[in-house]
Amino acid sequence: MSAMIGPSKTCRTMTTVHSDTVPDAGGSSLCSDAVDREPALRFDGVVRRYGDRVALDHLTLHVARGETVALLGPNGAGKSTTISLFLGLLRHDAGSVQVLGMSPRQAVADGRVGAMLQTGSGSGLPPGVRVATALQMVRQLYRRPASFDLTVERAGIGSLLSRPTHRLSGGQAQRVRFALAIAGDPELVFLDEPTAAMDVESRRSFWRMMRQFGREGRTIVFATHHMQEADEIADRVVVINHGQVVANGPGATLKAAVAVRQLRFVTGHPDEDLLDRLEGVTDVVVRGTGVALNSLDADATIRALVHSGVAFRDLEVTGAGLEDAFVALTGGDRTPDGGGTT
């Protein structure tokens, strides 16, 4: 299993790029060799409808073995539907879904897949037993489970083993659910909003665990609507909205794609050529006396603008943190859709 540590891990370095640096084309291609390998997950033109509503609209997504991929999107974007289809919990209406080269149900039946699903208000744990009993039982459902002690260590639940499952805090329950998800030593792990019920500290330690698990060569796919989580943890971020992939690449690339800031101001006689030559500017839009400049380096552009002697007023700079990147990519619309059940 450890032989599977893929070159995709090198993508991690991309996320350290600052938003004011333009990543070169070669940078983003660091991941391409990972993508070329036989994918752990393959989603081709997948359509899923709920009645009249189209939840996934010809969605295509491949995940390489050993890759950690974040599915990022607003509630109702199709993240949970995607995960449910990969797990065989739902059937697709069109397209094809393959997990480790087989049908999702086969992959689950073979014990090669683990998952932490959304549980709403519930704990997702069997009531009325101790943590150790639940873990021991779940292990026995798999042909080749990880050892009990290893799973306990991986999930950091050593101190919780003798607790009844209904006497756990949100973060503790989440860790136990993680232990159950990896009890079968799966090659592939799906996590649907895994840190939803956690405070900051639990989140941090959860992702530490997760990253360690990923380093062992596992393929990890998680859904989140926290941009930062996606950016920090994943090799690659897939932004989904309205059931389609709207962006796909290392976190930094995505950020850069929209880390463009916009400068708006009003000036008497806009000279487009001059404005276009200002440092950092990538795009100029002039409407009457109103000018909008897209810039990859707002500070430099403003300095250049001042030096150019152009008389401007009402300067306004907008954009573009991760949040804005996300908003820009998803068209800024967060569909209020019943708390992310899709």
Binding site: Y50, T81, S84, L87, L89, L90, R91, V108, A109, D110, G111, V113, G114, A115, L117, Q118, T119, G120, G122, S123, G124, L125, P126, P127, G128, V129, T133, A134, M137, V138, Q140, L141, Y142, R143, R177, L180, A181, G184, F190
Partner: protein
């Protein structure tokens, strides 16, 4: 198939580890039995064939099986379905159908000791004396014929949420108990209730046990009604399960 044994054992351990479940399951039939034993009609003959005390023991076995089976499913099941645990099991290697069948099997496993317990009370305090073989046959028959109750308990857990399941289970215990003639022989009830009793599984489960003891042999009609109940309730669970599966929530 791997792991189903572990899952079933886990389910039984969870049931037997619940004080609430044990208190209800042991308490209700035993206390009711002891109370009914003081009834003045003790010593009479029911339906011209069975001594009243034998009737009472068999009907209390039925009641015990009913209480155990309904409470093994019921709100326990709807609670854990709502908690997301049932769904979590769907992403383990055990097949989808095994959740329901294991639940039914676990209910059946806890029904058996309850039937035996009530029989022991019958032996010790109820003045019931049977041949060894009859005890054996009666136990087996009452156990097997508790299957519709076990399925009914799972059915309730599948159909309603935990808040509703609790009163529904309580109501079913007493409706099926009283109108099925478990607390008072059906022949002692008004005519209309004698008719309605024939539609209830509880009546037929007691009846099939009594038939064995009073020499009528195997109650075919009773068996058919019980099988029909098991099939219809089982079918309804399967139907609900398929709907949930299509929506991705099972």
């Amino acid at each position: 198939m791997r792991g189903l044994g572990a899952f079933a054992r886990f389910e039984v351990v969870r049931l037997l580890g619940s004080w609430k479940f044990l208190a209800i399951t042991v308490g209700f039939p035993v206390i009711f039995y002891m109370l009914f034993l003081r009834n003045e009609s003790a010593g009479s003959i029911v339906d011209g064939a069975v001594p009243w005390r034998v009737y009472l023991m068999v009907s209390m076995c039925s009641f015990g099986a009913l209480v155990a089976a309904l409470n093994a499913g019921g709100s326990r099941l709807s609670t854990e379905r709502a908690s997301g645990w049932a769904r979590q099991l769907r992403v383990t290697p055990i097949p989808a159908w095994s959740y329901v069948t294991t639940k039914v099997a676990a209910s059946m496993l806890v029904v058996l000791p309850v039937v035996v317990l009530v029989e022991l009370v019958g032996m010790a305090f109820g003045g019931v004396h049977l041949a060894a073989l009859s005890w054996f046959e009666l136990t087996g028959l009452l156990w097997v014929t508790a299957l519709p109750f076990a399925i009914l308990g799972i059915f309730v857990g599948f159909m309603v949420n935990a808040d509703t399941a609790y009163p529904v289970v309580t109501a079913l215990m007493f409706v099926l108990g009283y109108f099925g003639g478990l607390f008072n022989p059906v022949s002692h009830m008004p005519h209309v209730l004698q008719t309605t009793a024939r539609f209830l599984p509880s009546f037929h489960q007691t009846s099939i046990g009594l038939a064995l003891l009073d020499g009528r042999g195997f109650g075919i009609e009773d068996a058919l009604v019980l099988v029909a109940y098991a099939a219809v309730l089982g079918g309804a669970i399967g139907w609900k399960h398929r709907i949930e599966e299509a929506r991705g929530i099972a």
